[in-house]
Symmetry: C2
Subunit: 147 residues, 2 copies
């Protein structure tokens, strides 16, 4: 039985999203996987760092590039709990990710409203893995913010 499934890696990303929520950050988590190993873990830290660019995906690919000593991540998969925004999709384009998997869609700020051409043509895109868990975490976070 293969332990290293999409669900396994997405659950790791979701665990990071929970840590973001605990820290008062919009709960989005991401991991970068290379040869079935997680080489980078990150969660959204825009509040802590006062930095709008500190999304989970940006932090994860920067960490992965640092680890590999390479700018390009063609052999890597990024798992992220929310559909990347335009900024992050643009970063994934430059990093030439081999594959991108996201959980919940983001109809408002997700990149796909601009068309898949924002990603690199060689990047394989999948979505919907653990979608419901990620969506519930986001909904609960924003519900608590409003009360």
């Amino acid at each position: 039985m293969d332990l290293y499934t999409d669900n396994y890696f997405m659950s790791e990303a979701l665990s990071l999203a929970h840590r973001a929520a605990e820290a008062g950050e919009i709960p989005v988590g991401a991991v970068v996987v290379c040869k079935q190993r997680i080489i980078a873990r990150a969660f959204n830290q825009t509040e802590l760092l006062h930095d709008v660019t500190a999304h989970a995906e940006i932090l994860a690919i920067t960490t992965a590039s640092e680890y590999l000593g390479a700018k390009y991540l063609q052999d890597c998969t990024l798992y992220v709990t929310l559909e990347p925004c335009v900024m992050c999709a643009g970063a994934l384009y430059w990093a030439q990710l081999g594959r991108v998997v996201y959980a919940a869609s983001d109809d408002k700020r997700g990149f796909s409203r601009l068309g898949k051409s924002v990603l690199h043509p060689k990047t394989v895109l999948d979505s919907g893995i653990m979608e419901e868990e990620s969506r519930q975490l986001l909904l609960n976070f924003f519900r608590r913010l409003r009360t």
Copy 2:
């Protein structure tokens, strides 16, 4: 006579682009201006940092946010020598820049091929300031690379 013109601030960005070229980086420079003061200066450092996200604009707005201790830059203008890519335009959206001014257009990777909606609706956009100087610097850089 007003010293603090668009040309003045763009020439500062262009000077940073020259420093990028000297360092072997694609020559793009940027400054963030707030109340006629330059609060951040940056040039492209993707090679040095092995980081595809280390574009001049990303480094400049991160530095400006750090300086101001604030995520949003509504009172700031970003001057950059090349039209921002999709990633950078997405970052400028999140930072809610008051105004963005770029020099040369980038027909291939510039954000405007996706429409101005990538930027924040309140961001004022201008372009073409010192366009020729920026374009020549880029052309010379790529010409030297090929020889």
